[in-house]
């Protein structure tokens, strides 16, 4: 978080906390903003796949590029690592997978596995 938004959040939280005497609310508000931010960042990261694989990883019916929507997490992680290593040969995907860190692969796989 930037200083600006932190101080904005704190001001809001303190005002609420002091005004209502509910210090727990400020902590919850903070956590909720952090969670919202993290969810937004991960969704945006997974959206870099959507250009080829479809929004939310849901490819158009009949597509030769596979859907990622709802695929098991472990399977997605394995495939991406195999693309990186070349264990699974590819035209484009190996070149793109090499641009992802292990942490990003984990986040992307978790995101698509959770889509219903």
């Amino acid at each position: 978080m930037t200083k600006t938004s932190l101080s904005w959040t704190w001001t809001l939280a303190l005002t609420m906390g002091l005004g209502l005497g509910l210090t727990a609310t400020s902590a919850q508000a903070q956590t909720s903003q952090v969670d919202k931010a993290q969810a937004l960042y991960v969704t945006a990261l997974a959206a870099t796949c959507a250009g080829c694989h479809g929004t939310q990883g849901e490819a158009v019916k009949g597509s030769s590029i596979p859907s990622l929507f709802g695929r098991p997490k472990d399977d997605l992680i394995q495939q991406l690592h195999d693309f990186q290593s070349g264990a699974r040969p590819s035209t484009v995907m190996g070149q793109l997978a090499k641009g992802l860190s292990d942490a990003q692969i984990e986040q992307i796989a978790t995101y698509f596995a959770a889509q219903r």
Partner: protein, 440 residues
């Protein structure tokens, strides 16, 4: 599809060309009837206003709605009745594709995502008062503005071009639509033994591999129908700017004798009456069909707004972490109109990727959240070398905070090893999924 917001006159002319073409070309007749969306009442304000419904703008409109769980109101201003894709449009010129295949409806953006579509031109923007003025006279106030006008074709960069273009004698067909059909007709009308010349401006221009793909598509047609003819590629650049080895291999083998490539040829004028192209240095070149790609810069509305603060007023500077303009607050510029980061192509896929970074940043700002510290972009660009085989270039771009720019991730990205049928199939699926990601 990106938008060349020229002045009213050439735009009107483009429409009259379109009407004439539609009367002539029966196959294209279904196009306009395909996706007319009812013009909504123009709202007086929206939290987010998007100018331009191409790959970048339409994606931004959809993703602001989707990422905000439909909480943020979005207006999309686009004059055209339907989305016509530049990617794959070279297949229409070569004859293995048609306009229907590259035309999509905007209807889902409003029906499924609640984007308010306004069919109009964004004429001017007051970035102080944060109001967009439309050609119709309506005004729309915004909290955040996305500017995605594509490129303006600088016809003045070639002497004699503007008047020949206004008469419909010369077309660039670098914005897919009526001109795509007109260029196809010029190719059909060319006699066997004729010369089809493509001139390419100095980079950066829209779609780096596009002119070379077009050369392949014209050669594919000539090989079957007019084998004594030739494609002449006259490039202002010192070498092929994208997928060079792959294109040269195709020109040397399947298209041997059909394609001639000449680097360092900067076209400065056209003489339609005598079929001549004039160059900065070399002798004039004669051609039956002249397909001159003029120099380009950011779309007119962006220039008029003062956003083109880079490269001698040609391109719009952005803070790459969010794509917010370096010239105006609460204004985001995406797509072909921006000053690119190193190795970032001006492509439809890149515009789609940038749109998602900008949309996420806008949703973050309007929700009191800090923008993503590590945005990422991917790009995959296919080119067809004939009716079925394709080649690609792919890249991954990560935002580097210390340098405040995007850089390609070390060890990632690359090219095809050779043209293949398999990549041709992927290219069509790419288009289908991409258009769905932009519009549905």
């Amino acid at each position: 599809m990106h938008h060349n917001r020229n002045t009213r006159t050439p735009r009107m002319h483009a429409h009259s060309i379109q009407r004439r073409l539609l009367l002539q070309a029966g196959s294209a007749l279904s196009l306009l009837g395909m996706s007319p969306y009812a013009a909504s009442k123009v709202p007086s304000r929206a939290q987010v206003v998007v100018i331009g419904g191409g790959y970048g703008g339409a994606t931004a409109a959809k993703y602001v709605r989707w990422l905000s769980h439909q909480k943020i109101s979005v207006v999309l201003i686009e004059p055209d009745p339907s989305f016509i894709s530049c990617p794959l449009s070279n297949l229409v010129i070569g004859g293995s594709g048609n306009m229907g295949q590259i035309t999509s409806s905007y209807a889902s953006l409003s029906r499924h995502h609640g984007v308010t579509m306004v069919r109009d031109y964004a004429q001017a923007v007051d970035t102080e008062r944060k109001v967009v003025r439309l050609l119709s006279g309506s005004r729309i106030a915004y909290d955040k503005l996305v500017v995605a006008p594509g490129v303006e074709m600088r016809l003045g960069s070639l002497e004699g071009y503007a008047s020949a273009h206004a008469r419909g004698q010369l077309v660039h067909a670098w914005k897919a639509g009526a001109e795509t059909v007109l260029l196809r007709q010029q190719l059909l009308a060319m006699p066997d033994g004729g010369v089809f010349a493509i001139t390419i401006p100095l980079a950066p221009y829209r779609c780096p591999p596009g002119p070379y793909e077009r050369a392949c598509q014209v050669a594919w047609y000539l090989q079957r129908h007019k084998p004594k003819s030739k494609v002449l590629v006259l490039d202002a650049n010192a070498d092929v700017t994208s997928k060079g080895a792959l294109f040269k291999e195709v020109w040397a083998n399947p298209y041997k004798g059909l394609v001639e490539y000449r680097p360092n040829h900067r076209a400065v004028g056209v003489d339609v009456k005598n079929g001549l192209i004039q160059f900065e240095v070399q002798e004039d070149v004669k051609a039956n069909v002249i397909n001159a790609l003029p120099e380009m810069r950011a779309g007119k509305v962006a220039v008029d707004m003062g956003l083109a603060d880079q490269a001698d007023g040609h391109w719009c500077g952005v803070h790459y972490q969010t794509f917010e303009s370096t010239a105006a607050r609460d204004v985001f510029v995406i797509g072909d109109a921006i000053q690119i980061a190193p190795l970032m192509p001006k492509s439809g896929h890149m515009a789609n990727a940038q749109a998602k970074v900008a949309a996420a940043a806008i949703v973050a700002q309007l929700s009191g959240i800090a923008p993503n510290p590590h945005p990422m972009l991917t790009n995959t660009c296919y080119s067809f070398v004939d009716d079925q085989r394709a080649i690609h270039v792919a890249s991954v771009h990560a935002y580097v905070n210390a340098e405040q720019t995007f850089k390609t991730v070390h060890g990632s990205g690359g090219l095809s090893s050779e043209p293949s049928l398999r990549e041709g199939i992927y290219a069509h699926s790419w288009a289908t999924n991409m258009w769905a990601d932009v519009l549905r």
